[in-house]
Symmetry: C2
């Protein structure tokens, strides 16, 4: 996928992944970018997340991203902090940009210090090209599919987004990294005001297994090379790219055979709608039923109820694959037909709460024996 | 297990469970009891939970409990509310006690109205005995083991507790019902003040799959027949009974092969310690690792971190089966020996946060293909 104007990216094999696959990647803009950032809320956050927060708070511009896969550099103490800082320094020197204009990211095994010597040997080998694919390939761990999306605005500005996640490598957890870059001209203030809302309606609405990574981050960078866009068009497109990536993340969840999409409307607020949707999309019991093609709507009701949002049984309506199952009371429905309708790549649950105007969507996947096997049987 | 003085219990087959097993049960005290109650926080709570809350709030005494299994009578509208009320009325008439002194409980399938005619036919068939076992057998759904515990105080008062849970029947979710009865003489105020704390340290610290039932309740009843106990001894014994039941619940979690016990100390508060412990005990990634005998402590660190409690990597210590894995930094440990040490009926994780004096314990189980199969493949 072609990068927006002035962006370049590349990757190499630095022998951090045991598989020998590409594992060290650079992304750079020809000029400094305005940017927006969110990082994991996990209190055991990795040094790259803490460092990113620090340089983000300083308010300066960003010009490059350096990411490694195969090692999360988390829970690695002072050594890990130093390795992360060294990673930024090496990339900055090589690219000729200030150290604080370089964002670091790591994903992979927890608890092993990042091997600085491999970074030193690997970084100079990276050739930069005008498409994102080598970068994306290098940041993947056990993702089965590369996740990318793009949009073009009416002024010609482009938005390209990539992310990795829902895979795992021994002995680590699923991690999510997302990079969205654009040549649109958007102020730092505007970016920072808008980004959290997009995240709340895209990445924050994905659940594979309710476990929050120590290394998650999502970054939005604009270099202005293609001029100022219509701002509402820009944000619509950014959100569209992020929602596409979020769906790809959920569909590629560990062991997943299906994408699960949950739409809630009629909630007391958008926040309550999103909370209810995410509760259904992440319920192990409902996810197991999705896997088994079981139209067990009682579990949907349970999951909405446990989210704590305002609801009344008599006003609640539940549809599964567009079949009405509950409309204030149990509807007569053909169980066999509903089960057959669930045998698809995407299962859609629609819930109307009848309380207010709040709307929200969440994405998840089915829970399968594969999830357990990936995370239990094939690791030690 | 023999009931405390003046308590009697019994059960019958009322054909509510399709299996034809006992499914309708009564528990009664010869005199009115002081009592304490907690019910599910699920907003889609069943009529029995709402009714219990209402009569609890009225402040009166309780004398009997009537419970059915095989039908949760949840999401069943006005018909369900009427059936629940009828159930109390029938039991009250038969036992000769006021209707508001009878607590109802239901567990099983969601979304089907409770068949009142089966209650009418079944209740008169129940013979009352002085032990709890027929009652316990009748409230079980797919529990593999009956869960019971008892304690005797120095004044001769006895405490007997039973619960069901972590099983499921098609098409329903795990549900937890717990009944603790004693012949100790304890005031209603004292019971109500103490019960929530016991729950917070026992049943609220169990997780099988993070899905909260619509029908959960836990009830403590004392009839005073054996006189006043030492109150601190009474509460210690009640808590011991509840913790025993909580452990039994976790061990019998759907598909579980192991009990997972997580102890946290050195937290900022007891509440934070319990929250961190429960986060580890319910993490799908750590639970999968427990199943696979994988001493993957990075997942423990992740799960503590995602709980949001105050922590510092440099002060955190993690031990697994008494082997130190992390003490502010990665410890050298024998992976193979740690894996072998995990091949037992109970896996113990100990976490020291080094922040304050807060302590807490949680109980869970491993996540296995069996969980997925029970909830996906064997239902439709």
């Amino acid at each position: 996928m072609r990068l927006p104007t002035l962006f370049r990216a590349g990757a190499t094999q630095a022998a951090i992944k045991p598989s020998g696959k590409p594992d060290l990647a650079l992304l750079i803009s020809g000029n400094p970018c305005n940017w927006a950032f969110v990082g994991t809320l996990n209190r055991a956050a990795a040094p790259c997340v803490s460092r990113s927060r620090r340089i983000y708070a300083s308010g300066g511009q960003l010009q490059a991203v350096v990411v490694n896969a195969g090692n999360a550099n988390c829970a690695t103490g002072e050594l890990g902090v130093q390795a992360d800082s060294k990673m930024a320094q090496l990339a900055a020197t090589q690219l000729g940009v200030p150290e604080n204009a370089v964002l670091t990211g790591s994903t992979g095994v927890i608890g092993q210090p990042l091997p600085v010597e491999k970074l030193e040997a690997g970084l100079p080998k990276i050739g930069l090209v005008s498409h994102i694919d080598p970068f994306l390939e290098a940041i993947m761990t056990t993702d089965l599919a590369p996740k990318k999306a793009e949009a073009t605005l009416s002024n010609g500005s482009r938005i390209v987004g990539v992310c990795k996640g829902s895979g795992m490598i021994q002995p680590n957890m699923a991690t999510m990294l997302a990079y969205i870059v654009s040549d649109a001209e958007v102020s730092q203030d505007e970016l920072r005001q808008g980004w959290k809302g997009v995240i709340d309606r895209s990445f924050n609405q994905v659940s594979v297994d309710t476990d929050t990574s120590t290394n998650d981050m999502a970054v939005l960078m604009t270099n202005g090379a293609s001029g100022a866009p219509d701002l509402s068009e820009f944000w619509r497109a950014v959100e569209q790219v992020c929602v596409s990536l979020a769906r790809q993340l959920a569909r590629d969840g560990e062991g997943a055979t299906k994408l699960l999409t949950v739409r809630v409307c009629g909630a007391a607020s958008d926040e309550e709608a999103r909370r209810a949707a995410l509760s259904v999309a992440s319920s192990p019991l409902w996810k197991s039923a999705v896997y088994g093609n079981d139209p067990n709507w009682g579990r949907i009701m349970m999951a909405v109820g446990k989210s704590g949002v305002e609801m009344l049984e008599a006003r609640t309506r539940i549809a599964l694959q567009s079949m009405a199952l509950f409309e204030g009371r149990v509807m007569p429905f053909d169980r066999e037909a509903a089960s057959v309708a669930m045998k698809t790549e995407e299962v859609l649950v629609e819930i109307e709460l009848g309380i207010g105007q709040g709307q929200g969507i969440a994405w998840g996947c089915d829970l399968t024996e594969g999830y357990v096997q990936i995370n239990a049987l094939y690791t030690t």
